[in-house]
């Protein structure tokens, strides 16, 4: 059984299929990523460098924008990713993609 799953070749995150400790090496199609956080099962780990404001890609589609710079191997979750959709707390019109405010 694999320890992580990358769903689409376009993805910049992988899903942990088992709990990953910091320091775990992930060998993914030619690149190696060293996990730098504790990643619970089902949570996401960055497999590329993602700059603040850039799209986080899973299933080959954007799932939100990075709200901080994310290093390869880092835990990717609500602390560093913000949704672009249904955000009444942000100004703007419906359907318009918005970036998270810098934190």
């Amino acid at each position: 059984m694999k320890s992580v799953l990358v769903i689409s070749a376009r993805d910049n995150v992988a899903t942990a299929l088992v709990p990953l400790d910091a320091g775990t090496r992930l060998d993914l199609d030619g690149t190696t990523v060293v996990v730098c956080d504790v990643i619970p099962t089902g949570h996401k780990v960055a497999i590329a460098s993602i700059r603040a404001g850039e799209a986080v890609i899973k299933y080959g589609s954007p799932i939100g924008a990075a709200s901080a710079d994310i290093a390869p191997g880092a835990h990717v979750h609500i602390h560093n990713v913000a949704s672009n959709r249904g955000r009444g707390d942000l100004s703007g019109s419906a359907g318009e993609s918005r970036l998270a405010e810098p934190t």
């Binding site: 059984m1 694999k2 799953l5 769903i7 899903t15 942990a16 299929l17 619970p40 099962t41 089902g42 949570h43 996401k44 986080v56 899973k58 299933y59 589609s61 954007p62 799932i63 939100g64 990717v76 979750h77 609500i78 990713v81 913000a82 949704s83 672009n84 959709r85 249904g86 955000r87 009444g88 707390d89 703007g92 419906a94 359907g95």
Partner: protein, 393 residues
């Protein structure tokens, strides 16, 4: 070479041409005030008798009143219902005789009892139980017959999602959807908020430009409503349990959830809450994400079987349609075993292929459509909730 036998199931062929997977006597209260009486009548008549207790039917404004009436009428017309007993109070907005007329138009035996004219709770339960037993005996002689898979309308639902939903149970259900639609059947997807972020994938499969435009329109409406409230959808979508399970944003949840609709099935139609599913193939219904309201609407639209995928596990069912619970989470399959019908967690640890899990699920759907009880039915989970959008007056 002999022609391959088409898949099918043993269903109830109704006089109006529709096909049911169950043969319930439906005891439908017109209004919340008649709900307890309706439930007691149903309990006295027996297990094949389903009450439809609800919180509406009076004090509602135009559009909500319409939805309440249309939803109750849709259940009276539903092919999983063999006969209807309407329980009225007497002074409410929903008209008992209009609901009874709907049942008659679909050539179902029907009767009305009213609390104010019968003379109170005890007399209405007594009269309703007597009439209910007669109606129940009348429909009990109807037998199941072989029905083609094209007669099946499947409701696709997910709830209590976690990371396994998008990787195992929803893709397995998606394969079933593609197979069902390719064979001429129908499937309906609801939960507009949980298409948000994945609408581009569904819109690209629309058979008409107008259908794609309608899909985008309902999604924009939900998003605009959220923004108009000045609220952040993140407080509820994803839910706290979704977030613990590893889902970060509504877009991620939606991309996983939309797998239920398959990869190939063309999007044929977009319909209003509890409105009739008019076309074969894949339909999107405008329902909220709240599980029971969503399932209530999709069954109202005509779905005779619900397939409900879950990661964390959830017990809810429906009064007249079997709800098949599917999980890709091995812990949930064990820990909530009494609520789970199909375990597809083998997809996660590579002990089963997606194709094999989808085959098992397809056969289970046909067995359930033919009468095999689901966990929701065995446990008596008959949750029912009509979607409402406006204040009660």
């Amino acid at each position: 070479m002999p022609e391959r036998v088409r898949p099918g199931f043993l269903g109830y062929k109704r006089p109006d041409g529709r096909v049911g997977t169950r043969n319930h006597l439906l005891v439908v209260p017109t209004v919340i005030c008649a709900s307890v009486v309706a439930e007691r009548i149903a309990a006295a008549v027996g297990p094949a008798c389903a009450a439809l207790p609800h919180l509406a039917g009076c004090g509602q404004l135009g559009p909500d009143m319409r939805v309440t009436h249309d939803t109750l009428a849709a259940y009276c017309a539903h092919p999983n219902v063999g006969a209807v007993l309407v329980v009225a109070l007497g002074c409410e907005q929903v008209m008992a005789n209009v609901l009874a007329d709907v049942a008659r138009q679909h050539r179902k035996p029907v009767a009305i009892v009213a609390i104010q004219s019968e003379g109170g709770t005890v007399r209405t339960i007594e009269a309703g139980t007597r009439i209910g037993l007669e109606l129940s005996a009348t429909i009990s002689t109807q037998e199941r017959e072989w029905c083609d898979i094209a007669d099946l309308v499947l409701s696709l639902k997910c709830g209590g999602s976690d990371y396994t939903s998008g990787l195992a149970s929803n893709p397995a259900l998606g394969r079933v959807t593609d197979r069902l639609v390719a064979a001429g059947g129908s499937a309906v997807l609801g939960e507009i908020a949980e298409i948000m972020g994945a609408e581009h994938l569904l819109a690209a499969r629309a058979t008409r430009p107008a259908t794609a435009a309608q899909l985008i329109q309902v999604i924009t409406r939900v998003e605009t409503e959220t923004r108009a409230l000045g609220l952040d959808i993140r407080g509820t979508q994803p839910s706290p349990g979704n977030i613990r399970g590893g889902l970060t944003t509504i877009e991620e949840k939606s991309l996983g959830a939309t797998h239920k609709g398959g990869e190939h099935a063309p999007l044929e139609d977009v319909v209003a809450y509890a409105a009739p599913i008019r076309r074969k193939g894949l339909t999107v219904m405008d329902t909220p994400g709240l599980d029971v309201e969503a399932v209530t609407g999709m069954v109202g639209g005509g779905a005779q079987v619900v397939v409900f995928t879950t990661g964390l596990g959830t017990p809810t069912g429906n009064p007249i349609a079997p709800v098949i619970k599917v999980t890709g989470n091995a812990r949930t399959a064990q820990h909530l075993a009494d609520n789970i019908d199909v375990d597809v967690s083998g997809i996660m640890d590579d002990s089963e292929t997606l194709a094999s899990a989808a085959d098992r699920l397809f056969l289970e759907i046909l067995a359930v459509a033919s009468g095999r009880p689901t966990a929701t039915e065995t446990l008596g989970h008959r949750e029912f909730a009509i979607h409402r959008r406006n204040p009660t007056i």
